[in-house]
Structures are given as C-alpha cells and as structure tokens.
Amino acid sequence: MAITFTTPARASFLLRMPKLPGLKFLAGNKKARLALIILVPILLLTAFASYLPLQGPLQTNLRAMMQEPSFLHPFGTDRMGRDVLVRTLAGVQVSLFVGFSVAIIALVFGVVLGTIAGFFGRTVDRAIMSVVDIFLAFPSLLLAIGLVSVVGTGLVPVILAIAIADVPRFIRLQRSLVLSPRSRAYIDAARTVKASQWWLMSRHIVPNTIAPLLVAASIAAANAILVEASLSFLGLGIMPPSPSLGNIIRDGQLYLQQAWWISTMPGVVILAIALSLHFLSDGIREALDPRARK
C-alpha cells in the first residue's frame, strides 16, 4: 500500500491488475480522444514553431513592449518586446522535454529495479526497498529543491532532481504489480515448465505491468511540468533566457496588473497540457478497468 503520487489514492486502482488489450482502446475512449485533440495540435505547433514566420523567442523589440494580444501577437508581447506566443511554444518544448524525460527515467529505473526487487525477493528486495524508503521519506518538492541546490540549476539537473523523487515511487508500483496474484500465477506456471528467468520476466511479467505504469507515467509527466514551474518560481528551475513554461509564468506574474497576458497565456497552455495528460491517464484507466467506467 502507500504508493504516493501527486494524489496518492489515484494510484491505488493500479493494484488491481487490469487486462491488457493493447493501446488500441485509446481511440475508442472519449477522454483519451479529448486529450489527444488538445495535445496533438500543441505538439505539432511546438515541433514546427521554428518554421513558422515568427520572430525568434529571444529576439527583443523595443518598439513593441508590453503590447496586448493582437493579430500580430496573439498572446501579446512582454517587457522586452518578445512575442509571448513564440516564447510559450519554445517553453512548451522545454517543459514537454522535462515532463517526458522525467517519465521515461522514472519508468526505466522503476521497471528494472521494481521487477528485480519483486522477482528475486529476499535480500535483494530488502536492500532495494530500504533505499526506496529513504527516498520516499522526502516530500517530492523538498527532494528536488535539495538536489538542485547541490547540483545547480539548468535543464539536466532539474530533470534529474524531479526524476529522483519519482523513481522510488515507480519502483514500488512495479514491485507491487510483480507481486500481484496474477503475476504470481504466471511465475508459478512458468517455473513448473522450467522457463528461464529472463524469458519469464521479459515475456510475462513486465508486459503485464505496462498499462498501469503508463497511467502512472502520464501523471508523472504532468506533475513534472508543474514541479519545474515551482522550482522556477523559487529561482531553482530552468533559467532565462531559455524559456520554460515555469519561468515565463514566474517572470510574467510580476506584471500581472499591468500586462496580465504575459503569464496568463502560458498558464492556460500549461493547464491544457497537464489536464490532457490527466485525461489520457484516465482514459487508459477506464479502458482497462471496467469498474471505473461510469
């Protein structure tokens, strides 16, 4: 028990082993579809931002400082005359990179260490889990703050700092999935036919855990984007001029009264992304767990 995510109990359903019908179901799920409708255009815009006829994200323009949203600048401009839309798109790039990197790191380490712990049990399990317990003893933002203050700020340290808080949670999740009755049955069956351990793990145990892990990963990605924003606020995140959604919002909120758009526009985008990642995870969950489909 006690798997702590952003909202801990959200993860509790993961302990019920779902069937794995592949990922085809996504297209058939309403929430997942909505999520994709929001995410895909943002992703495309971000990917092709540099090909659009827009000024560069760092390019300043002293004649167009703090302009309201207009046709020319749909999100307005900031204090240095930079286009907020362009900066937001560049920020989305960075933020998504942070989100997905964290999710991938957490996923990889979580699967490997969690499977080892669950599968081998005994001393290995105890050793891994006591280290996990130590890391779980820190609230996640605290751990990130502590690490960033040691390693320094910047893209890579921030990703590592956030991921380190997530890895132990994924290890725990994966371990509990491996230890679930369904996996147990597989293990016992395979043992009776003397299958190799590697074959057993890669063919039967890990695939069974992928869907719930994906659910957790999309929540972790959304969470990472928000944690980066908090770190940026405390001056410990990704530093200007490289725009992350977090630092654009932080800088912009100082002008909330004079130029609301500087921080509100990227704020809306961050919300849209996080929200759709949550919908995506809900979609996966509902598709897998008929009990939740109501």
Partner: protein, 315 residues
C-alpha cells in the same frame, strides 16, 4: 497488530538513519561552501580561510559526521552557521506555526471537499452528468494550478481589492484570533489544491459504494436519500479517504514551503529557504531531516490507522 507495529517502527528507525546520512553527505557535495556563499562579493583569500576555520568547515568530514550524529541523538541541533542562533530555538518557534497551517488546511479541506465529493458522486449516480462534470472538471483544473500563481491572484483579490486579509504582519500564536486572520490566506491557497484532490477521491470512493447491493437494500427500505448518502455510503468510503488525508501530507508540506515564502510566514518553509540561500549546512540538514521525519511518522500512523480500520489489509 503488535508485531506489525514493532516491525514498522524498526523500519522507521532504519529509514531515519538513512535519511540523516544521505542528507549530510549530499550537502557536502555542494561546490563552494557556506563560507564562500556567505562571503559573497566582499571577502577573498585569507579572510575567507579565516571565516572557514571559524565555522568549523575545515575539520575532516567524518569528524563532522560523527559529531552531527551525536548531537542529533541528544537533540542538540547546534547553532546556525550564519547567524549563530540555536537551531533548537528556531525550530521550536517555527514548528507550531507550520503545524497550525497544516492542520487548519486539513480541517478546511475536509469540511469542504467531503460534502462536495459526495454531492458529485450522488449527481453522477443519479445521471446528472453536466453538474458532476463541472465539479470534477473544476476540481481537476484547480488542482493543476501552480500554487505560486494562485497565491498572487488571491493576494491581489482578497487582500488588495477586497481588503479581507492582511498580506504581511506579525505571526504569533499568542493571539489566536489574529493568528487565524493572518494565516487565512495561505491556508486558503493551500486548501484549494487539497480540496480539489480530496473531492475527486471522495467522489470516486462514494460512487463505488453507491452501486453496492446493501445501498440498494437501504434504499428499498425507504430511508431518506441523505441518510443513505451520509450514514451508509460515506461511512463505508471512509477508508480510502482517511488514507489520502494521511498521504496528502507530503504535498501539503511541499505547499507550505512556497506559501510561507510568499506570505512571509516564519515557519519551517521560510527557515528552509533562508538556509538554502545562505548555504547554511547546519540549518538545512536539520530541517530536511525534520521534514523527512515528520513525513515518515505521518505515513507510519496512517498505516496503523488503516490497518486498524481494515484488518484485511496485508502488508
């Protein structure tokens, strides 16, 4: 139950020792040190070395570690490097304040989120999709807003425009009414996120119970909807809700750091940010250990409560 508690307690001790060791050594990997961080622009060369010696930073690291462990066990946290004040004294002032904020947040959260979540579940159960979606969607939206953003909007709205709550001022437990008035805004900001989370969990839990057989039975016996909802459904949904209250302490502690900074509340979070800014090892390591200990203990008690409420739970 007893063996379980004992085992869990032992685990707690091992984890704590691990935390202490990890924190101590990690903080010493910092490039530069407290002395050079303190010196800033003004010092260099010899003067800096003298400062370092004065701070005890030139002792071998394992000597510093052993001394640190000894002091922790005897609850002697020493003095901060930069200010020379007793850390124990600082903690004893900061802890009640942070604790009061945390407790107030939890109380406010429970009062608002449980009826809200139950209502949403009821609406969903009765097929009122739109209303349910508004509540759930709203909760999710609020949940995702960065707290530093909410904090500033609340400051501008409740403090500057409406003039309801102060933005700054003394924080003292001596005058409970003034104290509550002062911490109202930070608690509100923190609660908003917590309420969103808790309402969604309550909704899910209650919704699940509502479709159980015995609820149908209760209904068929002609009991009022309210009674069914609050006497039976909510009572049975209590288990996951209690767990979440315990577990959300982690995110609550995260939240206090930022909120204390913005509203200048002299609690643990403010001390931590001060300590990190001035690279005060002594202070930061004590605080992080304290946070961790706090968090681990809450988890420990949550587990015990859970175990008590539901004897089926296997650990």
């Amino acid at each position: 139950m007893f063996t379980y508690s004992l085992n869990r307690l032992l685990q707690l001790v091992v984890t704590t020792l691990g935390v202490v060791t990890l924190v101590f050594f990690t903080l010493r990997l910092i490039p530069g040190d407290a002395a050079s961080a303190m010196a800033g622009d003004t010092l260099s060369g010899e003067a800096l070395d003298r400062l370092r010696e004065q701070m005890g930073l030139n002792k071998p690291i394992w000597v510093q570690y052993i001394e640190y462990l000894q002091n922790l066990i005897t609850l002697n946290f020493g003095e901060t490097i930069t200010t020379g004040l007793s850390i124990g004294g600082l903690l004893s002032k900061a802890i009640p304040i942070t604790l009061a904020i945390a407790v107030a947040t939890i109380v406010l959260t429970i009062i608002i989120s449980i009826p809200l979540g139950t209502l949403a579940a009821y609406l969903a159960h009765k097929g009122h999709k739109t209303l349910d979606n508004i509540i759930t969607g709203g909760a999710m939206l609020v949940d995702l807003m960065p707290s530093f953003w909410t904090a500033l909007v609340f400051l501008l709205l409740f403090s500057l425009t409406l003039g309801l709550f102060p933005a700054s001022g003394t924080v003292s437990l001596d005058d409970p009414a003034a104290f509550l008035h002062r911490i109202a805004l930070p608690v509100l900001v923190l609660s908003v996120t917590q309420i969103a989370t808790m309402a969604r969990i309550t909704r899910t839990a209650v919704l699940e119970i509502l479709s159980e057989d015995y609820i149908r039975t209760a209904r068929s016996m002609g009991w009022s909807e309210l009674r069914v909802l609050f006497r039976h459904a909510l009572k049975n949904a209590a288990l996951p809700i209690v767990t979440v209250v315990g577990l959300s302490f982690g995110s609550l502690l995260n939240g206090t750091i930022i909120v204390e900074f913005i509203f200048t509340i002299p609690g643990l979070g403010s001390l931590l940010v001060n300590g990190i800014n001035s690279r005060d090892y002594q202070l930061v390591q004590t605080l992080i250990v304290f946070y961790a200990l706090f968090f681990v203990s809450v988890n420990f008690f949550t587990d015990l409560v859970y175990k008590r409420l539901d004897p089926r739970v296997q650990f």
